[in-house]
């Protein structure tokens, strides 16, 4: 059976199902990270001493560059599809995937550094917040990578069978990916700089 409006848009809303779905999902994500930011504020203002400059700003900055870069490649992966350039699309999508991987490697180096210094989450509320926020964000990166891996690998067949839906799916992946980037844009100053 076919569900209407999976590919084409519904005339009165101007939307395909997936588009609205992904945005609603992102709305709930806003509230998820919002609650953590809110907790961050309250714990920080309530603390007697809040460490500053504990984290490696340069590593954080490099990771910011990487994520922003991956956002650009992601949107290009979609735009290339729109321009019917399959080769470029593959290139950009794989690039995005690779950048995400590098981000996680960096994150791993950072984590390992903290652990060897004995800075477990129990070390201080700041470190706890750091691990929780970046950990949750990292999981989102990982989730995004799984989805991209799918579209690089087994999912790519759909381009032949149902081109439009494939393009839509890449667009939704992109929306998710930009959101993950957007979260990092706030995490970076909040954790590394302030």
């Amino acid at each position: 059976m076919n569900i209407p409006y999976t590919v084409e848009v519904r005339p009165d809303t101007g939307l395909a199902n997936g588009k609205l779905g992904i945005w609603l999902f992102l709305a709930s994500e806003v509230m998820l990270f919002g609650a953590l930011f809110s907790s961050y504020i309250i714990l920080r203002t309530g603390s007697i001493h809040w460490p500053q400059g504990e984290l490696n700003v340069w590593l954080g900055m490099v990771n910011t560059f990487i994520l922003i870069g991956s956002s650009v490649t992601m949107v290009m992966a979609w735009a290339s599809l729109k321009l019917n350039d399959w080769g470029k699309h593959r290139l950009y999508l794989i690039l995005t995937f690779a950048l995400a991987g590098i981000f996680l490697v960096n994150k791993y180096i950072e984590y390992a550094d903290h652990i060897t210094r004995g800075e477990y989450p129990s070390h201080s509320t700041f470190v706890a917040m750091y691990f929780t926020l970046t950990g949750l964000h990292g999981l989102h990166i990982l989730g995004g990578m799984v989805v991209m891996a799918y579209f690089i690998g087994p999912g790519k067949k759909m381009y032949q069978t149902n081109r439009e839906q494939f393009v839509n799916r890449i667009e939704y992946t992109g929306l998710y990916w930009h959101f993950v980037d957007l979260v990092w844009i706030f995490l970076f100053p909040v954790l590394y700089l302030l």
């Binding site: 007697i48 900055m61 956002s71 992109g174």
Partner: protein
């Protein structure tokens, strides 16, 4: 259809430019951070810059500058409740009749608030 391809081509240029702008803004925040400003000022500045970056990502990469009304509607609702959510810290501490008890520091830890070493 032809116009869509043209549109996209135009957009592609914007995407690269926005990417560049995001890099520049990142460098600016980090640079500003190196000259240690007073905390309230630094926070304001960092949040303003981050919001601008966020705005660029959302409006251009996520196409929020031209979306359908259902998506705007949902996001508007989210923003409203997000604001409520962000006011929780205010609600928790601003109007409490309780006062913090500053505890004697237990042996072996530096600050009760944060930064106590593990052992």
């Amino acid at each position: 259809m032809h116009s869509e391809a043209d549109d996209i081509k135009k957009h592609v240029r914007t995407y690269w430019m926005i990417g560049g702008a995001l890099y520049v803004f990142t460098v600016i925040t980090v640079a500003v951070n190196q000259i240690h400003l007073a905390l309230p000022f630094a926070v304001t500045l960092a949040l303003i810059v981050a919001s601008m970056k966020g705005y660029m990502v959302a409006s251009v990469f996520m196409h929020l500058n031209h979306e359908k009304k259902w998506i705007y509607g949902s996001l508007l609702l989210t923003v409203a409740f997000f604001i409520v959510l962000m006011s929780i810290p205010l609600f928790t501490v601003m109007d409490s009749i309780g006062t913090d008890i500053v505890q004697e520091v237990p042996a072996g830890s530096a600050h009760p608030g944060a930064g106590a070493p593990a052992h």
